[in-house]
Each structure stands twice: as C-alpha cells, then as structure tokens.
C-alpha cells in the first residue's frame, strides 16, 4: 500500500476517503514511533491495519455511482503513462496526424510487452500542471483522433494488434475542434475500426467520456476497470440539462447507470477488471499487473481468430447493443 495522500481530497465526491486517510495517517505515525523507540506497538499496528482493510473493503463495496466517478477522476489514479511505464518492455512513440498537427491528448506508438508486440493508443491526461495543460486534460482534438486512425492503419499493415486505453472526460468542445471536424473525426474512427483487420482490445481505465471515448473504443474485447465509468454524457452535463442544476450530478450519475457493473450487466462491455482493495490509486503496481495479465490473455485469444470471423464478431457485438422491442 502506498502512503496516504498528503493533501486532503477537496471534492465532495471523495469525502468517503477521509476516515480511511485518517486511519492510514495514524498507522504511519505509529510505525514511525515504533521504529524510533523501544515501545512495542506492532500488535496495535496490526490491529489498526486489519481495521483499515475491513473498513476500506466496506466503504468501497458501497460506493455510490457518483463516488465511483470521483475515484475514476482521482488525482493519483494510474494514467496511460503509468501503464506504459510499468508494463511495457519497449515503446516507440509515433507522432502526428499528417494533416494538421500533433495532439498530445492521445498517445500512439509501437509497444512490446512480455514478448507481445502491438500498437498502443491511449488518452493522456498528464501528471504535472504543465503536462496536464499540454495534454489538454485528456480532451482530444480531431487531430488526436486522426492520428489514432492513421497509426491503427499502420498497425493493420504491420499485422500488429491494437490496444487502446480510454481515459477522457470527453472530446474537446472548442472552436478549432469544430472547425477541423471533431464530429467527423470521431465518426470516421468508429466506422473504420469496424474494418481494421487486426484484433482490437479496448480498456476504460478511468473516464469513459462519451463520443470522445468511443472514438478509440470499438474493439473485439472491451473491458473496464472496476472503478472506471463509461457514459453518454458527464453526470454534471446530464444534471444541467435534465435537472436544470449541476448540483444534481450525484442523482444524474445514479440515473445514467455508468459504473462498470452496470455496463457489464447491460452487455455493453465484456469484462470488468477488479481493482486492488481501495481502488487503483492505492496500488498502481498491482492494478497494472492485473491489466497486463488480462491484455495478454485477450491478445492471445484473438490472435487465433481468423480475420473474417474477427470482423463479423466485432460487428455482431455492437449490432446487438440496445435491441428495441416490437409492439
């Protein structure tokens, strides 16, 4: 387990973390005391650790959808860059959409992981303030989606499978983005991902923000991390429109059924990857390890499927989502 966060969480949606953080701080203090003196505190520490584990499990089992949205947005939650760092043995980043520019909100490159080669495409949010600004907080412009598509076509030529990491609040709503065809770029990606003749695996690692997520989200396997969310609109946006108040975001999050469990139940994703106790931000290494195992399993499975069958299955999967009834 990592050390408790130095800065207290400020968002309301993370209030449930406070007693856990306090307990963590207490344990850390006792440990310090224990090592610096002859006081025998290990019994007490063990007891508290046990309590922390139980309490964490309890709290995390009962998180409301809105609280999960806040976990998905947690400042210390592992990002695409963390997965890359901890999981890959080699990475060659490839830049640019060949038309307009380089969008740092989406990273693309050739990757090797435990002997398996693939193209990695992922939303990038950035860690430092400077990074975050450079990555536009994970909100891609059309050139980001076009870059992703251009590299996916390259992967197809090289017969490399594709792995996408989804983590975006949404595609960027700005003047330049609209001028350069944000909607068309996303739509083009969605359409062409149905015809790319290599396996595609998609994983929502944090925020699955609507069309901006789906723009790199059409795959043969689509997974979600336990505390990620995938939604047609942000809870805040939905609340503003339907409840006429952004404050109703918790209600909207509830109504939208956007948690990984909901998506699985609705048949919109294939699998939920469980996070370590207390969420991915408590144990990034453990999280990455689980993801790595799952990705390798999927890639091995899909490598055995003949291309026509692969494409037929890919279409059938999305074709079957949301079937109306006949009156």
């Amino acid at each position: 387990m990592t050390e408790p966060s130095a800065k207290p969480p400020v968002q309301d949606g993370l209030a449930f973390e406070r007693p856990l953080s306090e307990l963590q701080t207490k344990i850390a203090e006792l440990r310090k005391l224990n090592s610096g003196s002859h006081l025998e505190l290990s019994g007490e520490i063990e007891l508290l650790e046990d309590r922390l584990r139980r309490q964490t499990a309890e709290v995390y089992a009962q998180l409301s959808p809105w609280e999960r949205v806040n976990v998905a947005r947690h400042a210390e939650r592992p990002l695409t860059s963390d997965y890359m760092q901890l999981m890959l043995d080699d990475f060659v980043e490839l830049h640019g959409d060949r038309v307009f520019g380089e969008d740092r909100a989406i990273v693309t490159g050739l990757a090797t992981m435990a002997g398996t080669r693939f193209l990695l495409v992922g939303h990038r949010k950035g860690k430092t303030v400077k990074d975050r600004l450079a990555c536009n907080f994970g909100c891609a412009h059309p050139e980001g989606y076009r870059k992703a598509l251009q590299k996916m076509r390259l992967a197809e030529k090289m017969k490399l499978p594709i792995v996408t990491f989804i983590n975006t609040p949404g595609a960027y709503p700005g003047i330049g983005a609209e001028e350069r065809g944000q909607a068309g770029a996303i739509a083009r990606n969605i359409l062409e991902m149905f015809e790319i003749e290599v396996p595609i695996v998609c994983l929502v690692i944090g925020e699955g923000g609507s069309g901006g997520a789906l723009g790199i989200g059409v795959g043969d396997r689509v997974g979600m991390l336990e505390n990620s969310y995938y939604s047609v609109i942000s809870p805040e946006g939905c609340a503003a429109i339907l409840w006429k108040s952004g404050d109703k975001a918790p209600e909207a999050a509830e109504a939208l059924k956007l948690t990984s469990k909901d998506l699985l139940r609705l048949g919109l994703v294939d699998k939920v990857i469980e996070e370590p106790l207390g969420g991915a931000h408590r144990d990034p290494k453990g999280t990455v390890e689980r993801v790595k195992v799952q990705l390798l399993e999927w890639l091995a499975e899909l490598a055995a499927v003949p291309v026509p069958e692969l494409l037929a299955q890919r279409y059938r999967k999305f074709r079957g989502m949301g079937t109306p009834v006949a009156e």
């Binding site: 700005g174 003047i175 996303i186 062409e192 015809e195 789906l214 279409y315 079937t323 109306p324």
Partner: protein, 312 residues
Amino acid sequence: MAWTRFGKKKDMPGGLWIKCESCGAMLFRKEFEQRHRVCATCGYHFTLPARERIALTADPGSFEEMWIPLRAHDVLEFHDRVPYGEKLIATKAKTGEADAMVTGTATIKGIPCALGVMNFQFLGGSMGMVVGEKIALLCEHAAEKKLPVVLFACSGGARMHEGAVSLMQMAKTCGALQRLHQQGMVSISVMTHPTTGGVTASFASVCDLLLAEPGALIGFAGPRVIATTIKKELPKGFQRAEFLLEKGQIDRIVQRAAMRDELGRLLAYATGRDPVAAFKPQPVAAEAETAAPPPPAEVAEKPRRKQKAKKG
C-alpha cells in the same frame, strides 16, 4: 453528446401567425406551410417534422415504411423528474410517432432508395436504441436489395435516458454503414437544423455524400457548451452549414425546395443512371424510348446554362 433543447417552439399549433426564429418576421401559417416551413423573408429553414420531410422528398405515394412496431424500453429504469417509460408514452401520444426515426423504402425522382428521416419532435430527435436499430436495419436491407441510402439527420444527439446504450448506437450505425459501403452502395446524409452531438459524431458524418440545409446548426458540441468552456463569444455563423462548407466539412448546401431534385441527381450518379434524363419532365419518358440516345451530360448541360443566363 446528448440532446439539448434547440429551436424552442414558437410555432404553436393552431395559431394563424408564426414568428420567424431567425429574423422575427411574422409569417402567415398557411403560406409558411406551403413553403415547407421556410421563412419567406430571410430564407430560414425551420425544423421539418419527419412526415412532412418524407412527403417533400419521396415521390408521391412511393414511401413504404418499415419496422413500424419497434419501441424503446426503459433499460436503465431512468427517471429524472418523470420516469422514462412514462415520457415515451406521453411523447408518443403528443407526436403520434413511436420514436425519433422513420425508415422505409421510396423512390426519389424515380430512383429506388432506402430512406431514413429523423423526427426532432420526438425528444429532440435524440438517438436511442430505436433510432440506432432502424438505421442498422435500413443499411442491412439496402445492402441486400442493392439500394442507395438517404438519411436525414435532425437531432440534439444521443438520448441520455438510455445512457451508454444510446452511446453505443453511434457504433451500431457506423458499423452498419461500413458494411453497406463495403458492398459498394452509396449513402447520402442530409444534415438539417439542428444536427449535433452523437448523431453528428456517427452516421450523419460518415455517409459518402454530406449535404446540409442552409443555416443548419451542425456540430459536435452545442454552442452553449463551447461558449462556457472557452469563456469567449463564438464567431458569427459558427457551426452553421455555410461555416462547415467553408471549412471543407460538407459537400453541398441545398435549399429545401430543391432537395428532391438534388437528391435525384446525386442518386442518378450513384446508381449508374443518367442525371439528365432524370430531370426531363415525366411525360417525355414514353417518347424517349424511340428517340436517339441522350447526349452526354456535359453537352446537355451547356445549352441549359445558356438559357438560364439569357433569362437572368
């Protein structure tokens, strides 16, 4: 992605006069409807209900509706202030439509095609499972029958009440179009006011030909969302059809009154027919059989243009 309320209803049914949303002119209802809801003063194209659109686009009596019984169901048990299930029933009662999409086959200027028209009156033309399913079925039917596809978009985006299910209709419709295109069939999208969110970011933008009505608001994000995000005033004409044409995003802007002719001409090219013959007045057809083959399009175009020039 999701729909918001555009073009608030100022044309209360039953009123004798209608105020233009764009220029404020008072329009006599009867005349306004005869002009297919285009303002006589400024040319503003009002949102057109699906049935009126079909009447205006398909050859008279040619439209055969398909998949009429399809209904949405409340998969999420969604309720904001009203449960979604009740909202569906109430909207159906109010509009007489079962959902936001009408699909079927028709002929346009005599050319058979598959036709899908969105209905903005139904929950802002929002795309949920019924819209997605009907478009997929339409594309599959068209691929089987070797028909070109014409889709009229008019929507605020995905239907929030169906959550991520509505989001996935973007994938469903794009996948269906991809398969249609692979079979060599041509698709035409006509974006009408307004076309935004998940509809613009899916089927409406990936058809082979992209048309728009004049002045139509077309975009990914709604203008209000953008203005709030960038904290700036938006440039004049931003996200309008003319703006999109200027930015290279669409093929053509077509006046509502010219839409059927224009679609007929494009469908002729798309299906290996003579676009010039398609525009000969109907009675000539019998005569044409015995007459000499029509001249190539280029030659035939010239004298027509000259005539127009003389008149003007």
